[in-house]
Protein backbone atom coordinates (compact mmCIF):
# COMPACT_ATOMS: atom_id res chain seq x y z
CA UNK A 1 0.00 0.00 0.00
CA UNK A 2 1.21 3.50 -0.72
CA UNK A 3 1.48 4.43 2.94
CA UNK A 4 3.68 7.44 2.31
CA UNK A 5 0.84 9.21 0.51
CA UNK A 6 -1.22 11.60 2.65
CA UNK A 7 -4.17 10.46 4.74
CA UNK A 8 -7.54 11.33 3.25
CA UNK A 9 -9.70 9.61 5.85
CA UNK A 10 -8.93 9.34 9.53
CA UNK A 11 -11.66 7.95 11.80
CA UNK A 12 -11.27 7.14 15.47
CA UNK A 13 -14.12 5.39 17.32
CA UNK A 14 -16.62 7.12 15.05
CA UNK A 15 -20.21 6.65 16.23
CA UNK A 16 -23.23 7.71 14.19
CA UNK A 17 -26.67 7.66 15.76
CA UNK A 18 -30.08 7.87 14.14
CA UNK A 19 -32.94 8.31 16.61
CA UNK A 20 -30.89 6.60 19.34
CA UNK A 21 -29.92 3.66 17.14
CA UNK A 22 -26.17 3.35 16.48
CA UNK A 23 -25.74 3.04 12.72
CA UNK A 24 -22.00 3.04 13.29
CA UNK A 25 -20.89 1.71 16.67
CA UNK A 26 -17.24 2.81 16.70
CA UNK A 27 -15.23 2.77 13.48
CA UNK A 28 -11.48 3.35 13.42
CA UNK A 29 -10.07 3.67 9.94
CA UNK A 30 -7.29 5.32 7.93
CA UNK A 31 -7.32 5.65 4.16
CA UNK A 32 -4.51 7.05 2.05
CA UNK A 33 -4.75 9.09 -1.13
CA UNK A 34 -4.82 7.01 -4.27
CA UNK A 35 -6.28 3.94 -2.56
CA UNK A 36 -9.25 1.78 -3.49
CA UNK A 37 -11.26 0.32 -0.63
CA UNK A 38 -14.24 -1.99 -0.79
CA UNK A 39 -16.58 -2.07 2.18
CA UNK A 40 -18.54 -5.32 2.40
CA UNK A 41 -21.10 -6.65 4.83
CA UNK A 42 -24.67 -7.83 5.18
CA UNK A 43 -27.67 -5.52 4.84
CA UNK A 44 -27.76 -3.18 7.82
CA UNK A 45 -24.10 -3.73 8.68
CA UNK A 46 -23.44 0.00 8.33
CA UNK A 47 -21.89 0.20 4.85
CA UNK A 48 -24.00 3.08 3.58
CA UNK A 49 -23.78 4.88 6.93
CA UNK A 50 -19.99 4.77 6.77
CA UNK A 51 -20.06 6.25 3.27
CA UNK A 52 -22.57 8.89 4.32
CA UNK A 53 -20.37 9.86 7.26
CA UNK A 54 -17.40 10.24 4.91
CA UNK A 55 -19.54 12.47 2.68
CA UNK A 56 -20.52 14.69 5.59
CA UNK A 57 -24.17 13.76 5.08
CA UNK A 58 -24.71 12.47 8.61
CA UNK A 59 -23.45 13.97 11.85
CA UNK A 60 -20.73 12.40 13.93
CA UNK A 61 -22.16 11.59 17.37
CA UNK A 62 -18.92 10.73 19.13
CA UNK A 63 -15.33 9.88 18.33
CA UNK A 64 -13.26 11.89 15.89
CA UNK A 65 -13.17 12.07 12.11
CA UNK A 66 -11.15 14.01 9.57
CA UNK A 67 -12.04 13.60 5.93
CA UNK A 68 -10.31 15.37 3.03
CA UNK A 69 -8.78 17.80 5.48
CA UNK A 70 -12.06 18.72 7.15
CA UNK A 71 -12.75 17.90 10.79
CA UNK A 72 -16.27 16.46 10.89
CA UNK A 73 -16.82 17.69 14.43
CA UNK A 74 -15.84 21.32 14.01
CA UNK A 75 -15.32 21.91 10.28
CA UNK A 76 -17.65 23.23 7.62
CA UNK A 77 -19.62 20.30 6.16
CA UNK A 78 -20.16 22.27 2.93
CA UNK A 79 -16.43 22.45 2.37
CA UNK A 80 -16.15 18.69 2.80
CA UNK A 81 -19.09 18.01 0.52
CA UNK A 82 -17.48 19.95 -2.29
CA UNK A 83 -14.44 17.67 -2.03
CA UNK A 84 -16.28 14.38 -2.12
CA UNK A 85 -18.39 12.84 -4.85
CA UNK A 86 -21.36 10.64 -4.02
CA UNK A 87 -23.01 8.05 -6.21
CA UNK A 88 -25.96 6.21 -4.70
CA UNK A 89 -27.26 2.99 -6.18
CA UNK A 90 -30.67 4.52 -6.83
CA UNK A 91 -29.61 7.16 -9.28
CA UNK A 92 -28.88 10.58 -7.90
CA UNK A 93 -30.26 13.09 -10.35
CA UNK A 94 -33.31 14.98 -11.41
CA UNK A 95 -35.44 12.44 -13.27
CA UNK A 96 -37.21 14.96 -15.47
CA UNK A 97 -34.00 16.52 -16.76
CA UNK A 98 -31.96 15.06 -19.60
CA UNK A 99 -28.47 13.64 -19.25
CA UNK A 100 -27.00 16.90 -20.55
CA UNK A 101 -29.16 19.12 -18.31
CA UNK A 102 -28.21 17.17 -15.21
CA UNK A 103 -24.53 17.53 -16.02
CA UNK A 104 -24.88 21.21 -16.90
CA UNK A 105 -26.53 21.78 -13.52
CA UNK A 106 -23.69 20.02 -11.69
CA UNK A 107 -21.02 21.84 -13.68
CA UNK A 108 -22.59 25.25 -13.11
CA UNK A 109 -23.07 24.52 -9.41
CA UNK A 110 -19.36 23.76 -9.10
CA UNK A 111 -18.34 26.61 -11.40
CA UNK A 112 -16.76 24.19 -13.85
CA UNK A 113 -16.73 24.79 -17.61
CA UNK A 114 -19.60 23.05 -19.39
CA UNK A 115 -17.40 22.35 -22.42
CA UNK A 116 -16.21 19.03 -20.98
CA UNK A 117 -19.67 17.56 -20.81
CA UNK A 118 -19.76 16.05 -24.29
CA UNK A 119 -16.44 14.27 -23.82
CA UNK A 120 -17.41 13.01 -20.36
CA UNK A 121 -20.67 11.66 -21.72
CA UNK A 122 -18.79 9.93 -24.52
CA UNK A 123 -16.32 8.52 -21.97
CA UNK A 124 -19.08 6.84 -19.96
CA UNK A 125 -20.71 5.55 -23.13
CA UNK A 126 -23.87 7.63 -23.14
CA UNK A 127 -23.13 9.73 -26.23
CA UNK A 128 -26.26 8.55 -28.01
CA UNK A 129 -28.49 9.37 -25.06
CA UNK A 130 -27.27 12.80 -24.13
CA UNK A 131 -30.69 14.42 -24.69
CA UNK A 132 -32.74 11.60 -23.16
CA UNK A 133 -34.61 12.37 -19.94
CA UNK A 134 -32.90 10.57 -17.08
CA UNK A 135 -36.02 8.65 -16.08
CA UNK A 136 -35.91 6.81 -19.42
CA UNK A 137 -32.44 5.40 -18.75
CA UNK A 138 -31.87 1.81 -17.62
CA UNK A 139 -30.29 1.09 -14.22
CA UNK A 140 -26.91 0.53 -15.84
CA UNK A 141 -27.12 3.74 -17.85
CA UNK A 142 -28.08 5.70 -14.75
CA UNK A 143 -25.00 4.35 -13.04
CA UNK A 144 -22.93 5.50 -16.02
CA UNK A 145 -24.48 8.95 -15.80
CA UNK A 146 -23.56 8.98 -12.11
CA UNK A 147 -19.97 8.26 -13.04
CA UNK A 148 -20.08 11.03 -15.61
CA UNK A 149 -21.33 13.43 -12.92
CA UNK A 150 -18.36 12.41 -10.76
CA UNK A 151 -15.84 12.59 -13.63
CA UNK A 152 -17.01 16.12 -14.28
CA UNK A 153 -16.55 17.00 -10.63
CA UNK A 154 -13.17 15.31 -10.13
CA UNK A 155 -13.60 14.95 -6.35
CA UNK A 156 -10.76 14.01 -4.01
CA UNK A 157 -12.77 11.23 -2.48
CA UNK A 158 -15.18 9.06 -4.49
CA UNK A 159 -17.94 7.40 -2.48
CA UNK A 160 -19.88 4.80 -4.43
CA UNK A 161 -22.78 3.12 -2.65
CA UNK A 162 -23.31 -0.35 -4.12
CA UNK A 163 -22.38 0.66 -7.65
CA UNK A 164 -22.25 -2.95 -8.84
CA UNK A 165 -25.85 -3.81 -7.95
CA UNK A 166 -27.80 -4.94 -11.02
CA UNK A 167 -24.91 -4.39 -13.44
CA UNK A 168 -24.15 -6.92 -16.19
CA UNK A 169 -20.63 -8.20 -16.86
CA UNK A 170 -19.94 -5.54 -19.46
CA UNK A 171 -21.01 -2.87 -17.00
CA UNK A 172 -18.81 -4.34 -14.27
CA UNK A 173 -15.82 -4.45 -16.58
CA UNK A 174 -16.41 -0.85 -17.58
CA UNK A 175 -16.71 0.19 -13.94
CA UNK A 176 -13.52 -1.63 -12.93
CA UNK A 177 -11.54 -0.01 -15.73
CA UNK A 178 -12.79 3.44 -14.87
CA UNK A 179 -12.11 3.06 -11.14
CA UNK A 180 -8.60 1.84 -11.99
CA UNK A 181 -7.99 5.04 -13.94
CA UNK A 182 -9.38 7.20 -11.18
CA UNK A 183 -7.21 5.61 -8.50
CA UNK A 184 -4.17 5.82 -10.72
CA UNK A 185 -4.95 9.51 -11.10
CA UNK A 186 -4.51 9.96 -7.33
CA UNK A 187 -8.13 10.05 -6.13
CA UNK A 188 -9.30 7.96 -3.20
CA UNK A 189 -12.20 5.61 -3.86
CA UNK A 190 -14.45 3.86 -1.37
CA UNK A 191 -16.98 1.41 -2.74
CA UNK A 192 -19.63 -0.47 -0.80
CA UNK A 193 -20.66 -3.91 -2.02
CA UNK A 194 -22.49 -6.98 -0.80
CA UNK A 195 -19.62 -9.28 -1.71
CA UNK A 196 -15.87 -8.78 -2.17
CA UNK A 197 -14.94 -7.43 -5.58
CA UNK A 198 -14.25 -10.16 -8.14
CA UNK A 199 -12.15 -8.07 -10.45
CA UNK A 200 -9.18 -9.22 -12.45
CA UNK A 201 -7.58 -5.80 -12.68
CA UNK A 202 -8.14 -4.21 -9.28
CA UNK A 203 -6.45 -5.08 -6.00
CA UNK A 204 -8.55 -3.28 -3.44
CA UNK A 205 -8.35 -3.27 0.32
CA UNK A 206 -11.46 -5.04 1.59
CA UNK A 207 -13.10 -4.10 4.86
CA UNK A 208 -15.80 -6.26 6.34
CA UNK A 209 -18.45 -4.49 8.38
CA UNK A 210 -20.85 -6.02 10.88
CA UNK A 211 -22.82 -4.48 13.70
CA UNK A 212 -21.77 -0.99 12.69
CA UNK A 213 -18.01 -1.54 12.96
CA UNK A 214 -15.10 -3.06 11.08
CA UNK A 215 -14.62 -6.75 11.85
CA UNK A 216 -12.33 -7.70 9.00
CA UNK A 217 -9.58 -5.91 7.04
CA UNK A 218 -7.75 -7.55 4.14
CA UNK A 219 -5.39 -5.84 1.73
Amino acid sequence: MANDSPLVVQLRDAVVLAGGFPLLSGVTLELHAGSLTVVTGANGAGKTSLLRLLAGLVALSSGSATVAGVDLGTGDPRLLRRRVGWLGHEGSFYDDLTVRENLVFAARALERPTGEIESVVAHVGLAGRIDTPTKQLSAGQRRRLGLGWLLLRRPQLWLLDEPYASLDDEGRGFFDALLGDVVAGGATVVVSAHDPLRSASLRPRTLHLAGGRIVGDAS
Binding site: A55, L57, W86, L97, F105, A106
Partner: protein, 219 residues
Amino acid sequence: MIRTALLVAGKDLRIELRSRVLLWQVVPFGVMALLLSGLALGPANAGHSSAGPGLFYLVVLLVALLMINRSQAVESTPGTRSSVATLGLDPAGVFLGKALALATELWLTGLVLLAGAVLFLHTALHGALVALPSIVVTLAALAAAGTLYGALTAGGGGAATLLPVLALPAFAPLLIAGERSFSAALGGGALWEWWVIIAVALAAYLAIGILLYGVLEES
Protein backbone atom coordinates in the same frame (compact mmCIF):
# COMPACT_ATOMS: atom_id res chain seq x y z
CA MET B 1 -25.87 33.65 -3.87
CA ILE B 2 -27.74 35.23 -6.79
CA ARG B 3 -25.94 32.93 -9.22
CA THR B 4 -26.96 29.84 -7.22
CA ALA B 5 -30.49 31.23 -6.96
CA LEU B 6 -30.83 31.61 -10.72
CA LEU B 7 -29.31 28.17 -11.31
CA VAL B 8 -31.72 26.49 -8.88
CA ALA B 9 -34.73 28.48 -10.12
CA GLY B 10 -33.88 27.60 -13.72
CA LYS B 11 -33.56 23.93 -12.80
CA ASP B 12 -36.89 23.85 -10.94
CA LEU B 13 -38.74 25.64 -13.73
CA ARG B 14 -37.21 23.38 -16.35
CA ILE B 15 -38.34 20.32 -14.40
CA GLU B 16 -41.81 21.85 -14.22
CA LEU B 17 -41.78 22.52 -17.94
CA ARG B 18 -40.86 18.90 -18.61
CA SER B 19 -43.19 17.18 -16.19
CA ARG B 20 -46.17 19.53 -16.78
CA VAL B 21 -47.50 18.73 -13.31
CA LEU B 22 -48.55 22.35 -12.98
CA LEU B 23 -50.47 22.35 -16.24
CA TRP B 24 -52.15 18.96 -15.98
CA GLN B 25 -52.71 18.60 -12.26
CA VAL B 26 -52.42 21.80 -10.27
CA VAL B 27 -54.24 24.25 -12.55
CA PRO B 28 -57.20 21.92 -13.24
CA PHE B 29 -57.50 21.34 -9.50
CA GLY B 30 -57.54 25.08 -8.89
CA VAL B 31 -60.19 25.69 -11.55
CA MET B 32 -62.34 22.90 -10.12
CA ALA B 33 -61.95 24.34 -6.62
CA LEU B 34 -63.18 27.71 -7.97
CA LEU B 35 -66.19 26.04 -9.57
CA LEU B 36 -66.92 24.24 -6.29
CA SER B 37 -66.71 27.58 -4.48
CA GLY B 38 -69.38 28.92 -6.80
CA LEU B 39 -71.54 25.85 -6.16
CA ALA B 40 -71.04 26.23 -2.41
CA LEU B 41 -72.35 29.79 -2.54
CA GLY B 42 -75.66 28.55 -3.91
CA PRO B 43 -77.46 29.52 -7.14
CA ALA B 44 -78.56 32.89 -5.79
CA ASN B 45 -75.05 34.09 -4.91
CA ALA B 46 -72.69 32.29 -7.27
CA GLY B 47 -72.79 34.97 -9.97
CA HIS B 48 -72.92 38.14 -7.92
CA SER B 49 -71.23 37.62 -4.64
CA SER B 50 -68.68 39.89 -3.02
CA ALA B 51 -66.89 36.72 -1.92
CA GLY B 52 -64.87 36.57 -5.16
CA PRO B 53 -61.54 37.87 -3.77
CA GLY B 54 -61.75 35.69 -0.67
CA LEU B 55 -62.53 32.56 -2.64
CA PHE B 56 -59.76 33.39 -5.11
CA TYR B 57 -57.24 33.54 -2.29
CA LEU B 58 -58.61 30.44 -0.56
CA VAL B 59 -58.15 28.46 -3.77
CA VAL B 60 -54.68 29.99 -4.23
CA LEU B 61 -53.71 28.72 -0.76
CA LEU B 62 -54.89 25.19 -1.54
CA VAL B 63 -53.06 25.22 -4.85
CA ALA B 64 -49.94 26.64 -3.15
CA LEU B 65 -49.89 23.72 -0.70
CA LEU B 66 -49.79 21.28 -3.61
CA MET B 67 -47.05 23.24 -5.31
CA ILE B 68 -44.92 23.47 -2.16
CA ASN B 69 -45.04 19.70 -1.75
CA ARG B 70 -44.15 19.32 -5.40
CA SER B 71 -41.26 21.77 -5.06
CA GLN B 72 -39.76 19.62 -2.28
CA ALA B 73 -40.63 16.32 -3.97
CA VAL B 74 -38.32 16.99 -6.93
CA GLU B 75 -35.42 17.10 -4.46
CA SER B 76 -36.52 13.98 -2.62
CA THR B 77 -36.19 11.25 -5.24
CA PRO B 78 -33.90 8.64 -3.68
CA GLY B 79 -30.26 9.57 -3.92
CA THR B 80 -30.85 13.03 -5.37
CA ARG B 81 -30.67 14.79 -2.02
CA SER B 82 -27.31 13.17 -1.23
CA SER B 83 -25.66 13.88 -4.55
CA VAL B 84 -26.99 17.44 -4.72
CA ALA B 85 -25.84 18.00 -1.15
CA THR B 86 -22.31 17.07 -2.24
CA LEU B 87 -22.40 19.95 -4.71
CA GLY B 88 -22.10 22.21 -1.68
CA LEU B 89 -24.52 24.86 -2.98
CA ASP B 90 -24.99 28.06 -0.98
CA PRO B 91 -28.16 27.41 1.09
CA ALA B 92 -29.31 31.02 0.88
CA GLY B 93 -29.07 30.80 -2.90
CA VAL B 94 -30.96 27.50 -2.94
CA PHE B 95 -33.71 29.08 -0.85
CA LEU B 96 -34.01 32.13 -3.09
CA GLY B 97 -33.95 29.96 -6.20
CA LYS B 98 -36.64 27.60 -5.01
CA ALA B 99 -38.75 30.53 -3.79
CA LEU B 100 -38.33 32.30 -7.14
CA ALA B 101 -39.38 29.20 -9.07
CA LEU B 102 -42.35 28.66 -6.77
CA ALA B 103 -43.32 32.33 -7.09
CA THR B 104 -43.20 32.10 -10.89
CA GLU B 105 -45.45 29.04 -10.81
CA LEU B 106 -47.82 30.74 -8.39
CA TRP B 107 -47.98 33.85 -10.58
CA LEU B 108 -48.90 31.80 -13.63
CA THR B 109 -51.48 29.77 -11.72
CA GLY B 110 -52.75 32.96 -10.08
CA LEU B 111 -53.40 34.50 -13.48
CA VAL B 112 -55.47 31.51 -14.55
CA LEU B 113 -57.43 31.54 -11.29
CA LEU B 114 -57.95 35.30 -11.56
CA ALA B 115 -59.43 34.78 -15.03
CA GLY B 116 -61.54 32.02 -13.48
CA ALA B 117 -62.80 34.37 -10.78
CA VAL B 118 -63.74 36.97 -13.41
CA LEU B 119 -65.45 34.32 -15.52
CA PHE B 120 -67.23 32.17 -12.95
CA LEU B 121 -67.70 34.46 -9.95
CA HIS B 122 -68.25 37.60 -12.06
CA THR B 123 -65.50 39.51 -10.28
CA ALA B 124 -65.12 42.87 -12.04
CA LEU B 125 -62.30 42.70 -14.59
CA HIS B 126 -61.19 46.28 -13.98
CA GLY B 127 -60.96 45.73 -10.23
CA ALA B 128 -59.04 42.50 -10.77
CA LEU B 129 -56.49 44.36 -12.88
CA VAL B 130 -56.15 47.10 -10.27
CA ALA B 131 -55.58 44.40 -7.64
CA LEU B 132 -52.89 42.72 -9.75
CA PRO B 133 -49.85 44.39 -8.09
CA SER B 134 -51.01 43.37 -4.62
CA ILE B 135 -51.68 39.83 -5.88
CA VAL B 136 -48.18 39.58 -7.35
CA VAL B 137 -46.51 40.64 -4.10
CA THR B 138 -48.81 38.49 -1.92
CA LEU B 139 -48.04 35.42 -4.02
CA ALA B 140 -44.30 36.18 -3.77
CA ALA B 141 -44.62 36.27 0.03
CA LEU B 142 -46.57 32.98 -0.13
CA ALA B 143 -43.76 31.46 -2.19
CA ALA B 144 -41.05 32.57 0.25
CA ALA B 145 -43.03 31.29 3.24
CA GLY B 146 -43.97 28.11 1.40
CA THR B 147 -40.36 27.29 0.54
CA LEU B 148 -39.44 27.54 4.21
CA TYR B 149 -42.34 25.45 5.42
CA GLY B 150 -41.74 22.93 2.66
CA ALA B 151 -38.14 22.47 3.79
CA LEU B 152 -39.31 22.19 7.41
CA THR B 153 -41.61 19.28 6.65
CA ALA B 154 -39.66 17.57 3.85
CA GLY B 155 -38.77 13.97 4.52
CA GLY B 156 -40.37 13.92 7.97
CA GLY B 157 -43.22 11.60 8.92
CA GLY B 158 -46.37 12.52 7.00
CA ALA B 159 -44.85 15.52 5.21
CA ALA B 160 -47.91 16.03 3.01
CA THR B 161 -50.29 16.30 5.97
CA LEU B 162 -47.91 18.16 8.26
CA LEU B 163 -47.33 20.98 5.78
CA PRO B 164 -50.88 22.45 5.96
CA VAL B 165 -50.90 22.43 9.77
CA LEU B 166 -47.66 24.39 9.90
CA ALA B 167 -48.17 26.64 6.91
CA LEU B 168 -51.83 27.67 7.05
CA PRO B 169 -51.58 29.73 10.29
CA ALA B 170 -48.70 31.61 8.69
CA PHE B 171 -50.67 32.04 5.48
CA ALA B 172 -53.66 33.50 7.33
CA PRO B 173 -52.33 37.11 7.43
CA LEU B 174 -51.48 36.90 3.73
CA LEU B 175 -54.96 35.65 2.96
CA ILE B 176 -56.46 38.51 4.96
CA ALA B 177 -54.21 41.18 3.48
CA GLY B 178 -54.60 39.86 -0.04
CA GLU B 179 -58.36 39.55 0.18
CA ARG B 180 -58.81 42.99 1.77
CA SER B 181 -56.67 44.77 -0.79
CA PHE B 182 -58.38 42.89 -3.63
CA SER B 183 -61.79 43.88 -2.26
CA ALA B 184 -60.58 47.44 -1.81
CA ALA B 185 -59.47 47.47 -5.44
CA LEU B 186 -62.91 46.28 -6.50
CA GLY B 187 -64.42 49.08 -4.47
CA GLY B 188 -62.17 51.59 -6.18
CA GLY B 189 -59.80 52.30 -3.30
CA ALA B 190 -56.56 51.08 -1.85
CA LEU B 191 -55.63 50.60 1.79
CA TRP B 192 -52.02 51.06 2.82
CA GLU B 193 -52.36 48.82 5.91
CA TRP B 194 -52.56 45.72 3.75
CA TRP B 195 -49.48 46.65 1.82
CA VAL B 196 -47.65 46.95 5.17
CA ILE B 197 -48.70 43.42 6.15
CA ILE B 198 -47.74 41.94 2.78
CA ALA B 199 -44.40 43.77 2.59
CA VAL B 200 -43.42 42.98 6.18
CA ALA B 201 -44.31 39.31 5.68
CA LEU B 202 -42.34 39.12 2.42
CA ALA B 203 -39.29 40.81 3.96
CA ALA B 204 -39.45 38.62 7.09
CA TYR B 205 -39.68 35.35 5.15
CA LEU B 206 -36.89 36.33 2.79
CA ALA B 207 -34.64 37.31 5.70
CA ILE B 208 -35.34 34.12 7.67
CA GLY B 209 -34.90 32.00 4.57
CA ILE B 210 -31.54 33.56 3.71
CA LEU B 211 -30.32 33.23 7.30
CA LEU B 212 -31.75 29.87 8.31
CA TYR B 213 -32.30 27.72 5.21
CA GLY B 214 -28.85 26.24 5.74
CA VAL B 215 -29.89 25.00 9.18
CA LEU B 216 -32.77 23.10 7.58
CA GLU B 217 -30.64 21.60 4.84
CA GLU B 218 -27.99 20.35 7.25
CA SER B 219 -29.67 17.05 7.90
